[in-house]
Symmetry: C2
Subunit: 425 residues, 2 copies
């Protein structure tokens, strides 16, 4: 079957998925966890093949590291599935119960979104997390992982898929796309795919957003900021800035720009320069920054750049408000942090900054589904509709309104014979 046919099959079966009880879905997850454990040797073999091929292709070290799927990563994802099973069912949750009139009762109940296409990087653990999040939330999923992980992904997918179907999930609960060319096919399936979640480079995500009518949830770039206010604690500031920049440079929630209140600059910057020197971070500062510390120069373009590298741009500002304006203008509405001892300034910053995550006195690297206690995430959204920030189970459901009557018609209300009384139950 090509992707279009598979998507149509998933769409058909999405209704069957939507009516399954939490027990059956959790049972399928448990079966998937057991099957992964059982197929350990085959999975490791497949991963060795991917690793060898990647090494032969001289793939960069960070990608190799993410591609590697060893015993400890396998135990990690199995443990993750057991945690997911324990999480409350996101489906069939009543969000509203209201009597509109005698005998006419409205309910709003959560239900799956339907068919979700997820395109993700060459990380085998991502396949397991995304697949199991979709199954737990009653969604059918089309998964396309990075090609470097093809052998590992194929075994992981087959293992989870067969366990799930044996446990009673419909045949069209999941499908896998393996070829890059299938992504363009997937983008055209707007009649059967309800949501796309692309993860990857800025250019890739923008390509997806610009070439499909399917709603897209995700983020293109992650230009995150730390702003150091005039009332700051140096002992908090330095570790937070260093962590935000260097704890993992290749990710969307790493900080790219540091904004510093003019009154804080002389105390902060020399200490920061020392700390960054130890971590081999290149500082690119404006003229004013260069007057205080020795560093490369930053221009307008730097503030628009997601380095994903050991580079940070630095600029001085006159006030918290100016910092917030800079962030709203240059940022990507992902995650931005203020370092201040002044609670009022913090609260105001957090209201003024129009981002999915607004932080006070902590590292931007905390914006992540695991760290928020969501169990896992399918991605991070910088859009404002539906889910914003790290997207876990809750972002994978929608709702429907159910209205129960006893022969109720609208003419009675339009013509004044009856009146609504709206009473929440």
């Amino acid at each position: 079957m090509n992707i279009r046919e598979q998507a149509r099959k998933l769409k058909e079966d999405s209704i069957r998925m939507a009516i399954l009880s939490a027990d059956i879905r959790n049972h399928a997850l448990a079966a998937a966890a057991a099957a992964l454990e059982k197929n350990k040797a085959v999975i490791m073999d497949a991963n060795q093949q991917d690793l060898k091929a990647a090494e032969a292709d001289q793939v960069a070290a960070p990608i190799l590291k993410r591609l590697k799927f060893d015993e400890s990563k396998l135990q990690g994802v199995i443990e993750g599935i057991h945690q997911l099973i324990e999480l409350p069912d996101p489906l069939f949750q009543l969000q509203l119960s209201r009597e509109l009139d005698e005998g006419l009762t409205l309910y709003r109940e959560t239900c799956p979104i339907g068919v979700i296409g997820v395109i993700f990087e060459s990380r085998p653990d991502a396949l397991v997390q995304i697949a199991t999040l979709c199954l737990k939330s009653g969604n059918c999923a089309i998964l396309k992982g990075g090609s470097e992980a093809m052998q590992t992904n194929r075994v992981l997918f087959e293992t989870i898929y067969h366990a799930a179907v044996e446990a009673g999930l419909p045949e069209g609960c999941m499908a896998q796309a393996e070829m890059r060319s299938q992504i363009d096919e997937l983008l055209e399936c707007d009649d059967s795919v309800d949501l796309l979640i692309p993860r990857g480079s800025n250019a890739f995500v923008r390509y997806i957003m610009d070439h499909t009518k399917i709603p897209v949830m995700g983020h293109a770039d992650g230009i995150c900021h730390v702003y150091v206010d005039q009332d700051f604690d140096l002992h908090k500031a330095i570790p937070i800035i260093v962590d935000s920049k260097t704890q993992y440079v290749a990710v969307c929630n790493a900080t790219e720009t540091l904004l510093v209140h003019r009154k804080a600059a002389k105390k902060l910057l020399p200490e920061l320069a020392k700390a960054f020197a130890q971590k081999h971070v290149e500082i690119r500062g404006t003229k004013e920054v260069q007057d205080i510390i020795q560093c490369a120069s930053a221009d307008e373009q730097d503030f628009k750049t997601e380095y994903l590298d050991y580079i940070i741009s630095v600029k001085l500002v006159d006030s918290m408000e100016e910092a917030a304006e800079h962030i709203n203008h240059y940022g990507s509405h992902h995650t931005d942090s203020i370092i201040t001892e002044n609670k009022e300034t913090a609260q105001r910053f957090m209201q003024l900054v129009d981002s999915a995550g607004v932080y006070c006195n902590c590292s931007t690297r905390f914006s992540d589904g695991f760290k928020y206690g969501f169990g896992a995430e399918v991605g991070v959204s910088t859009g404002k509709l539906h889910a914003r920030g790290p997207v876990g189970l809750e972002g994978l459901v929608t709702y429907k309104y159910k209205l129960f009557g006893e022969g109720h018609i609208v003419a009675d209300y339009a013509e004044g014979r009856k009146q609504f009384h709206f009473r929440d139950l």
Copy 2:
């Protein structure tokens, strides 16, 4: 200012709107209500001009009726504003409070979406409802009403706008577009408009969806169904079907197709034909339907058609499941109703049908923000993301995550020196 400049001004001021207290927003609404009352004569004059121009242009009677804005409609919208003031504030609501670790606390708080563009039909009361819903929810709004209502809309807009700004709302809280050509300009403002809500014809809404990168909330067509199950009560069925079809034919929640269980057909159809004859409804039935009652013939195309007229297509099915399949295939996921005395069949139908509204023993015409007790609606969404069904205040807000730390960094957790404990507060 052209639309692009206006949109940019609104975007800038959207941050100022977002931090206003509920008191100030409600005060602005009260001022708007008072100003509408005060400007009554000017408003009525403007509406007379619109009505005269529309009559001269031989505009159809239903449009004239919606265009007319008399004393009773004015009192209706003023009353609506007072009800809106009484509704709880949708902003600054905590949706989650969680301690991730000692001193590291996560909150999720509602906030406005930002700048919303609404394009709506020639109904002056719609302008007032949409403008006030946006102000109550802290959003900046660009309003484009139907051109037939231009004079009335201009006076209504100016009245509300000046009252709001005098009451302390920012200058960029609202803008009005009057020319059709400005719609295309608006579609290109994806850097400053966060959401578009188009209301209008199928073709118009599709045009909007296909020509912008801005997220669109709404519905193109409204092909709603009533399904009559084998266990049905004739005394409920006939009024519900007649109401669903005829209470207001020109709207999205009017029923276009009736599905009837084969075992119900002989009892239902002759009675229904009589009732529809009185209302001058044309029945278009399949061959099997024509074997029972005299009617026009329906083909495949009929089941894909939103008549918005006194016409209904009728088809027999073997089971509730077949009805649900037909609805999921041909429908527009808007609102669909089952008529049955069997509660289990009803529950299953309501799970199987993938629509924003799934009803039992009541008219499809109930799907509406007012009738759901939302106060008013900005539109009805048949999409599955963000808001589904009638969209009131709740659909006009999003949320942000606020994380408060005391110098917390991710390296401590990544390297095992600290552990999250996730405790909901």
